[in-house]
Amino acid sequence: MEAVNLLSSNKYSEKQIGYLFISVLVNTNSDLIKLIIQSIKNDLSSRNPVHVSLALQCIANIGSKEMAEAFGHEIPKLLVSGDTMDVVKQSAALCLLRLFRTSQEIIPSGEWTSRIIHLLNDQHMGVVTAATSLIDALVKKNPEEYKGCISLAVSRLSRIVTASYTDLQDYTYYFVPAPWLSVKLLRLLQNYPPPEDPGVRGRLNECLETILNKAQEPPKSKKVQHSNAKNAVLFEAISLIIHNDTEPNLLVRACNQLGQFLSNRETNLRYLALESMCLLATSEFSHEAVKKHQEVVILSMKMEKDVSVRQQAVDLLYAMCDKSNAEEIVQEMLNYLETADYSIREEMVLKVAILAEKYATDYTWYVDVILNLIRIAGDYVSEEVWYRVIQIVINRDDVQGYAAKTVFEALQAPACHENMVKVGGYILGEFGNLIAGDQRSSPQVQFQLLHSKYHLCSPMTRALLLSTYIKFVNLFPEIKTQIQDVFKQHSNLRSADAELQQRASEYLQLSIIASTDVLATVLEEMPAFPERESSILAVLKKKKPGRVPENEIREGKSPGPTANHQTEQPPAPAPTTNNVSTDLLGLSTPPASQPSTTSTSNTGVLLDVFGDMYGGTGTPAQANNVNNLAPAQSTYNAKKFICKNNGVLFENDLIQIGVKSEFRQNLGRLGLFYGNKTSFALQNFMPSLSIPDELQGKVNLQVKPVEPVLEAGAQIQQMLNAECIEDYSDTPSMVISFLYNNVPQKLTIKLPLTINKFFEPTEMNGESFFARWKNLGGNQQRSQKIFKATQPMDTTATRTKLLGFGMQLLEGIDPNPDNFVCAGIVHTRTQQVGCLLRLEPNKQAQMYRLTVRSSKESVSQEVCELLADQF
C-alpha cells in the first residue's frame, strides 16, 4: 500500500523506490495491480520523460493481461508520435512488444503498420534496436503485413556494415559498429525467404559478403570482446545464409569460415561453429563441404574438454552422416561411447542406433553395431533400441541366421548385459533352429546357455526366457523333457513372482497336452512387423525437439502412453494404436501373449487347451486374461458415467477431473473438481461450456467461473447447475484450456448429463407394468436393440448398472427370472415421459435384447442407445 502511495509521489526518488518495489515484489496476480494501474496512467501522460520511462518499465516488467488491456491504446501512440523523446520511444517499443506477447490483439493494424516499420529509419540507434525486436515479433505473427520491413532492414544493415567504426560513435562496441542491431536485423531477415527484388537481394548478399570478408581481417583489438562482437554478427550472418539456402558460393565460404573456427582457441567459438555446422549439413549445397571437416569434428568429440562442446560435436556427426561415411562415423561413435560422459550416453546410443539403421546397406553390419552397442553401453540402451533390432531381424529373412549366430556368440561371454540376454532369448527362440545344425550350437547347448543366465535376470527377462523355452519345445522336440523340468521347477512356489509362476504352469500344460500340430500353430514364428517410423527416432525427437534434422518434428504436447508403461499388462488383442510409441506393444508385453497375438484363430485353440485344464472351475476365458485391455494412461470414459453419478471423469499426466452430481426431477447439480497433478501452476485455466446446437433450448446450464490459476497440487471446484427443458440426445461438453509450462493445452470433456439422469424411478406391480407395456406397443413408441455382450454376463453387475441408470428395477415381474424389467419417468420442464424397459440376456449366444417403450419416440430411442453400449 505504501509503495503504491510512493508511486503517486512527485519526487523522483520516492517514485523510483515505489516502482522498484513493485517490479520486484508484485506478481501478476496481485490485487494491488488494480491500484497501480491508475498511478501508472498518470505517469504515462506526464510531461516529464523520466516519469514516462519509469511507467513504461513497470508495465513491461509486469506485462500482465490487465496491463495490456489498460495501456494497449496509449503505448502505440507514444511510439510513433513526433514529439516523444528517443529514450521514451525506445522503451515504448519494447513495452509494446512485451504486451503483444501477453495478448496478441493489442497491436493496431492498418496505417500503424507502416509507421512502425519506418521506425527502422530512425536516427537514434537505440530506437532502431528496440523497434527491430518489436517488428521481429510482429512479423512472426503476420508476415504479409510487415513485408515492407525487408528492404528497410537490408538498407539499414548495409549502412552499418559499410560504416567504419568511427561513424557510429557511441554504438560502436570494441571497434565493431552496432553489433546488437546487426544481429537483430539479421534475425529479422531470417523470418522471410530471400528477397525477390534483385536489387535488395544483391545488396543483402553484398552485406553478407562484407561480413565474411571482415572475419578474415586482422583483429583491430586483442580484447576478447572485440572478437566476440565481431563473431556474433558473423554467426548470425551465417545463419541467414543457411536460412536463405540459395547462394552456394556463400554457403561454401561460410562453411570454410566455420571450419577455421573448429580449431580456434576460444571454446565458445568452437561450440558455436559446431552448432552452425549442424544447420549447414542439412543444406544440399554445403553438405559435401561440411564433410571435409569430419576428421576435426571427430577429434573434437574425443578430445574436447568441455562436455557441451562434445555434445555439439556428436550432434554434428549425426547431422553430417550419410551413406558414404556412415560406417566410419558409427564406428567412431561406438569407440567413443566407451569413454563418453554419462550425461550424453543415452542420446548417443539412440543416435548410433538410428544411423546404423538408416544407412545400413548390409544388415549384418547393423546387427553387429547394435550388439556392440549393448555390449559397450548396455545400461543406456533403452527398450526401444532392442525392440527395434528385433523388429528388423524378424522382417529381414537374410540376417536371421547371422543374427542368431552372433547373439549366440555374444551370449557366451562370461558376463553379459541383461539387454543382451533379452535380445538373445528372443532371437534364439525365433530362429534358434537356423544354427542348430552346428554341433557347437546344438539345441542342447543353446538351451543351457540361456538357462545359465536365467538366475541373474529380472522377472521381466525371466518371463521372456520362459517364452523362449516354450518356443524351443516347438523347434526342438528332442529337448522337450529338459524344458518341462524347468517349467515344473518354476510352476510352484519356487518362483515368487506370480506372473512367472503362471507362465511356467501354463506353458507346462501346453507342452503336455497340446498335440504337435497345435503347438506348431500356437508357437509359429512371429509375423513380420508392419513398417513404421522407427520408434527410436520418435524417442529422440521427444528428447530433443528441434535437434533432429527431419522435416516434420512435432513436439509431443503431453507424453502419450509409452510402451513401457504397459509392459506388465496383459496384452491388447493386436497393436492397433497408431501412436508411434506404442509401436512395439506386441513385443513389450510378456510373451505369454505371443500365442494369442499371432493370430486370432489361435486364441480359440489355446482357450480349449486351458478349458480342459481348469475344467469346470470357472469360465475358461479367465485362465488367460486375453480380454482385459491394458488401461490407457489417460483415462477418459464418458460412457462409464451413464450409469453412475460420481467418480473420476478424466485423468492424464497433468490434470485430474472428478465429478459429483445429484439430480431431482428436471434439475441437476454437478460439482466438477479439477486437480493439478503437476508441480507447476496451470495458468490461464479456463473451463467453458460447449453446448451442441441441437441441445440449444433443450437444456439450461449455468456455471460459476473459476480462478484462472490452478496452483501445483491444488484442487478447485466448479459448480454447474442444469435444467432439462425438453428431452435430448447427445450431451453438453466442457472445454478446458490452460497453459502448462506455457504450452497451451485443451481438453474437451463430455459432461455426464445424459437424458437418463433426469429419470425418476417408479414402482409398480406386474399387472400395471404389463398393461402399460401393451399400451405402448405402437411402432413409434418402441425401440429395440439386439447386441453382443462385451463384458462377462454377470447378473449382479447388470443389476448395479440398471440401478445406476436411474430407473426402478422391478423384481419378480417378468416370467423369465433372467430378464430385467425397469420403469421410470423422465422429467423435463415441458413434460414428463413415462418409460419402460426390458432387458433379456441370452447366455448361450452371449447376446442381449433390449426393448424400451415410452410415450415419446425420441426418448425411447435415446434411452435404448445409451444403455446398449453398457453391457
Binding site: 516488467n61 519494447l94 537505440g126 550425461s343
Partner: protein
C-alpha cells in the same frame, strides 16, 4: 527473450535476481540453486554456454554466463537470442556497474541493490535488450542521480520508503482491502 538474470557468488548465495517470466518464490529459489549447481561445476576455460537447465522453458533454453572473480552473472535465454550477443551484454552490464560504483565488488551489489536494479532496468526491459550503448546508459543513470539530489529531503526520502516497506504486512492488508472504497482512500492519502 531473456527469461531471467541471476547473479550469485562462488558459494551460490544469490546477489541479485530478476525474472522476466513469472515464477513463484519457491520456484525462483529452485532455479537459482539448479543454475548454480550447473554453472559452478564447470572449469573457467570451457565455453560460456550451457544447455540442460530443466526448470525454465524446457529444451528451448540456454544458460549464458560469465564468471568474474567472486561472482557469476547468468542470463537465462531462449533460442531467439544470439549467444555471443548476450555474452557481450553481460560484459556491458558489468562494465557499467564498474563505472557507476568505481571498481565494483560483491559488496556494492549487496548494499546498493536498488542501484543495480536501476542500471539493469536501463539495459534490459521486460526480457528484451533495451540499450547497449554504455555512454547512453551512464548518462541516464547520472541524470537519475542528479534528479535525486535536486529533490529536497534527499536523505529522508529513501529512508522513509524503506521503513514503509518494512512495516507493512502485505497479506493482511490485502485481505482487509475492500475494493469499492479504494479510490477515496488514495485521495485521502496524498502527500
Amino acid at each position: 527473450m531473456i527469461k531471467a538474470i541471476l547473479v550469485f557468488n562462488n558459494h551460490g548465495k544469490p546477489r541479485m535476481s530478476k525474472f522476466y517470466q513469472y515464477f513463484n518464490e519457491d520456484m525462483q529459489q529452485q532455479i537459482i540453486k539448479e543454475t548454480f549447481q550447473l554453472v559452478s561445476k564447470r572449469d573457467d576455460n570451457v565455453c560460456n554456454f550451457l544447455e540442460g537447465g530443466s526448470l525454465i522453458g524446457g529444451s528451448d533454453y540456454k544458460l549464458i554466463y560469465r564468471h568474474y572473480a567472486t561472482l557469476y552473472f547468468v542470463f537465462c535465454v531462449d533460442s531467439s537470442e544470439s549467444e555471443l550477443g548476450i555474452l557481450d551484454l553481460i560484459q556491458v552490464f558489468v562494465e557499467t556497474l564498474d563505472k557507476c560504483f568505481e571498481n565494483v565488488c560483491e559488496l556494492d551489489l549487496i548494499f546498493h541493490v536498488d542501484k543495480v536494479h536501476y542500471i539493469l532496468n536501463e539495459l534490459v526491459m521486460g526480457g528484451m535488450v533495451l540499450e547497449t550503448n554504455m555512454t547512453e546508459i551512464l548518462t541516464r543513470i547520472e541524470d537519475q542521480n542528479k534528479l535525486e539530489k535536486q529533490e529536497a529531503g534527499l536523505a529522508a526520502a529513501p529512508a522513509r520508503a524503506v521503513s514503509a516497506v518494512k512495516n507493512m504486512n502485505i497479506p493482511q492488508q490485502i485481505k482487509d482491502m475492500k475494493l469499492p472504497d479504494l479510490p477515496q482512500a488514495i485521495k485521502d492519502l496524498k502527500f
